[in-house]
């Protein structure tokens, strides 16, 4: 797994080798220059002690300024090259991930939660980005400091280096121990935070129950107890974190104490100059950072490792309805023939057959309706026509071609599928309805003629014109409020605008009132070049005029025939359904007429 992770990181950076190299080069320059200022101070002190060294001192001041100037330039450069590259790499990875997501099938989305997928695309990518940017930076800093500063110290005085550095050796161990503790307690904190969040969510969701039972007090007590746990967890984390910085400081100060004592002796004994003493003081202060950075870069790396594991897992997901090796993608519109041949189906990962041995040939232009209770298999059956789920070879044919041989895209272009869920994008009405129309150009005068026509067929044209901004009205979660029926009609219009050869309506008229439904069905019938229609419904009115009606029970075809034929079977499903429906209609008419009065 580590190998794969490394490959992922390397692939992400591949495009940015050059800016990364520049970034690392300038970083190296900054860190090398870090050695210089203490040396300059050493010369300053030594020169000042000598006396009458004005020129030398001014030269040193100039040099100090020069070093600061170059360092400033380099710091600008490494940020702009190193950190910016990491952001580009993060952007690329996010694009790659989302590109991949768009290629995954219904089964994948049935299993995953939106929140998780979103956090992979943001938090996990960010963790990797951090390892590539700040992570690499801290690691580079640590290595470079450790390679240079001790060397400079050693050159000045091997003996003092030993005394001053001795306590610092403890730091990496301490940092590592601390980060582990912090991680543990941080997890605990997250846990208590999410419990608070869950309990709040639950409480507000059930606020009516709480209020109805007047149990607000008990809920507040429960919440307060959780909050108290959170306080204690936070404090236990704080105890670790509060010691971290000060302990590092203290370790460093031990070096300073050692320097003062032993270095002081050396100065008095003229083993080293006073300048060396001063330079050492600065070096010791400088050594804290690389020791810390070492620990930090380990943490960056570990987080990235966990995140890239999750991302790799996602990238390994494959669609279960792939294109065949030689996909069939006819140029012309399909004739619209559909055939089920011993069709059986179970959802991926399930061992229960939802459809069993279905046999049927639907001729081009025919209108077939499926009736059945929830769970009878209507939706499953219709969803196979657009290959939302995989179906075995030799079972389902469109235009006499096995659906497994069709190019998925071509198949979906031919089959206009409208499902039960109404989903509209946060775009304008015109954009939503023209969604399936390729090369849609929105002329100033109004939407595409195809879109207008489709809106009329779906009996939603007048509704659109009645909206505050007509075709330009925004829809979606944050857009205008439409009724369920309006939304359904919009999704039907959206599918019709593509002019599919086969139209599939899976309970797509359930929220539309009966009169409007009648209008839609009529206009569909009168549509020029009328094509094959497969309709699943709960309501009799939706199916009555179909060429053939099929009742579906537990994944099997029970009855097949026209309305008149099926009505003859007195004990049949269809007849029972019809009677129930009639009573309901009677009741509805009664209610609409004003009840008992």
């Amino acid at each position: 797994m580590k190998g794969q992770t490394t490959r992922l990181l390397r692939a992400a950076l591949k495009k940015y080798r050059k800016p990364m190299a520049i970034g690392l080069a300038t970083l190296t320059l900054v860190d090398l220059l870090e050695v210089v200022p203490p040396l300059l101070l050493k010369d300053v002190v030594d020169a000042a002690v000598e006396g009458s060294a004005t020129r030398a001192l001014l030269r040193l001041a100039g040099l100090y300024l020069l070093v600061a100037f170059v360092q400033g330039l380099c710091r600008y450069a490494w940020r702009m090259y190193l950190i910016r590259s990491s952001m580009w790499a993060g952007r690329d990875l996010r694009n790659r991930l989302v590109d991949h997501l768009f290629g995954l099938s219904a089964h994948f989305y049935d299993r995953k939660r939106i929140g998780d997928l979103m956090s992979h695309a943001t938090s996990d990518v960010e963790a990797i980005r951090m390892a590539l940017g700040p992570g690499l930076l801290t690691f580079g800093d640590a290595v470079l400091y450790l390679l240079t500063v001790p060397v400079a110290m050693y050159v000045l005085s091997p003996r003092l280096t030993l005394f001053a550095m001795a306590p610092l050796v403890l730091i990496p161990f301490f940092v590592h121990w601390n980060q582990r503790k912090v991680h543990e307690r941080f997890e605990a904190l997250q846990e208590s935070q999410s419990r608070i969040s869950a309990v709040t969510q639950e409480n507000l969701g059930g606020i009516r129950v709480v209020k109805a039972f007047a149990r607000e007090d008990a809920q507040i007590q429960k919440f307060a107890a959780l909050g108290e746990v959170h306080v204690q967890t936070s404090l236990s984390l704080a105890r670790v974190q509060a010691t971290f910085g000060p302990t590092l400081d203290f370790t460093m100060s031990l070096g300073l104490v050692a320097l003062l004592y032993f270095g002081g002796k050396d100065v008095i004994g003229s083993v080293v100059t006073l300048g060396t003493f001063v330079a050492f003081q600065r070096y010791i202060e400088k050594m804290v950072w690389p020791m810390t950075a070492l620990g930090m870069s380990v943490t960056y790396y570990q987080r990235a490792l966990a995140s890239s594991g999750r991302i790799l897992e996602l990238l390994e997901e494959r669609t279960n309805v792939p294109d065949p090796v030689v996909p069939v993608a006819p140029r012309a519109a399909a004739r619209g023939k559909v055939e089920f041949r011993n069709l059986s189906f179970r959802f991926p990962g399930s061992d229960k057959n939802v459809l069993r041995n279905l046999n049927l040939v639907i001729e081009p232009g025919e209108k077939v309706a499926f009736l059945g209770a929830v769970g009878a298999g209507k939706s499953a059956l219709l969803s196979l026509l657009v290959r939302l789920y995989p179906v075995e070879r030799g079972m389902l044919f469109v235009d006499d071609i096995d659906v497994n041989d069709w190019s998925v895209k071509a198949l979906r272009d031919q089959v206009g599928y409208v499902g039960q869920e109404v989903f509209l994008f946060s775009d304008t009405v015109a954009e939503n309805l023209g969604y399936g129309v390729r090369n849609l150009i929105l002329p100033e005068s109004g939407p595409h003629p195809l879109v207008q026509e489709a809106a009329q067929w779906a009996a939603v044209h007048d509704d659109v014109l009645g909206l505050s901004e007509g075709w330009g009205t925004r829809l979606g979660e944050r857009g205008v409020n439409l009724s369920g029926g309006q939304k359904q009609r919009l999704t039907i219009a959206r599918a019709l605008a593509r002019q599919p050869s086969i139209l599939v309506l899976d309970d797509a008229l359930s929220s539309v009132d009966v009169q409007t439904e009648e209008r839609i069905l009529q206009s569909l019938r009168s549509r020029k070049g009328r094509n094959t229609e497969l309709v699943a419904a709960h309501r009799l009115s939706t199916v009555r005029d179909a060429d053939r009606i099929i009742t579906l029970v537990d994944g099997e075809f029970r009855q097949i025939g026209t309305h008149a034929e099926l009505m003859k079977d007195r004990r049949g499903e269809y007849r029972r359904f019809h009677e129930q429906e009639e009573r309901r209609e009677e009741l509805e008419t009664f209610i609409q007429d004003g009840g008992s009065r």
Binding site: Q71, R91, L204, K211, A214, V231, I268
Partner: protein, 616 residues
Amino acid sequence: MSAIDHYLDVEERENRNSGQGLHSWFRLLGLITDQRGTFAAGAGLILLGSAALLAQPWLLGRAVDIALRPGKGELLGQLALALFALNAVRVTALMAQTYLFEILGQRVMQRLRIQLFSHLQTLPVRTFDKNPVGRLVTRVTNDVSALSEMFSAGFISIIDNLLRVLGTVLLLLWLDWRFALVVLAPFPLLVLLSIHFTGRLRVCYREARAKLSALNAFLAENILGMRVVQLFNREPLHLERFHQVNESYTSATIRTVRTYAYFQPSITWVSGFSMALVIGYGGVQVSEGRMTLGILVSFFALVQALFQPIREIADKWNIFLAGMASVERIFSILDWPREVDVPAVPERASGIASVKGHIRFEDVWFAYDEERWVLQGLNFEIQPGEKIGVVGHTGAGKTTLIQLLLRFHEPQRGRILLDGRDLRDYDKRSLRATIGLIQQDAFLFSGDAEENLGLGRVLDAESRARVEPALKKLGYPHWLGTAEQPALELLERGSNLSMGERQVLAFARAASIGPRLWILDEATANIDPETERALGQVLEASSGGFTSIFIAHRLATVREANRIFVLHRGKLAEEGTHEQLLQVNGLYARLWRFQEPVDNSEAKESSPAPAHPPGA
């Protein structure tokens, strides 16, 4: 078009109403008044720590001047010891101060959290219809956390660093004021730069955050609508849009990097300039004997130490501002009006415990919004101990009736009397506590079965006695914990309970409070006949003698009632016993004929609408 624009405006709308800063400050200070002691101790420790910190460069300077000369070696030991002690004090003060302020912050947080949560409990039901739960949860969690961070990482750190800057400047002036003035000459420039860049960073951060939430909104919508995208073969379009959104977010974060890329070098340069002044001016002074070397050495360290706190302040300032925005959002919720509850006659709880259950609706009109009347002059009377069934079409006003009885809403016209007294004269919570409500969906909370019965409150002996026999009879004695065996743990969303069992729980929940008035809202709509029968029996035993109101879609449920009310369009259309109503041959009779065959067959649809074909 730019895809990101649309997602952005929502974020902006959320950020708009900020800027009543000072007022929020005082309210925030109000929260810490009783933590004054902790605050004072922390402040004292900050002072102590800062003093010890500043003393260190001074001590080293003194060491250079007095100890590092031949013959003064014996002083070194003492100075080293002093340095050690100074650091020990400083580090201890730092730890203690950090921890103290964490305690303080956490206490304030906890108090605010409880205040917020408690306030949410008192809001009228209407408020929750308008505000998505998710957003309110964010206030209780994220905003409170942001506030905590603002306090410990922002506020305290800013004060600490300001003190350090001030102390350093004073010390520099005290050591050698002329030297100090020369060295500090670039300092105002640094402050100006910091202010400038902090302002720019704030803009950058805000933009990056807005772009990130746009990116999240895009992802959420697209993952939700993935099926549509794929069925219409429009993946390329969406990918192109995502790349735009992603690019826009990345550019925003890069702008932040760029701002830092300018900020950091400018600090490097200004501090380099200051140090060059130290070297040039101070070095010459020393070499000409006008100043001691020790002062120069002290200046080296002090001038370097001056720049770090400035950067820290610049960094924390934005955390601080983000926290203030959260504070304002929290306070704005605390200002939302509570459920009004001022009884006209403050007799209140006195009479409520022994309510007899006489209910009277007098010309009750009610509308959820201003336009559509749900109840239109409802009139009826229920005698104590009567068992009333309420039926009617969807939207006839059945559930609204309950909402009014529970006083989740108040009628706009007319009044409701309980035992001859206006409902508004009772205290809301005591009123609700006398009503045993069983709803169609027993809302389950996490925790075990017993906790769910008490809704967070531990059942007292009396409550236990009320439900224990019934639970035993129904076969769920293990729902109540005993000394030997804890109560049954419920899985997430009650997945280890069947629909029937959930109703049993809802019943026990109601029974445990010993209600004087029972309301069942579609309580048996989703359960199997066997459980329904068993539940009916224990219910009969518990509610016998008390007024009970059964609301039902399925008429078989109310058949046995003393009287049945048929609601139609917000009015009482028919009333009477089952037989009487059948004879009237009106709405009830038609409803009955419609439902009868369904009830006789085995069909028990999970969906309440009888629109599915039978025999599912």
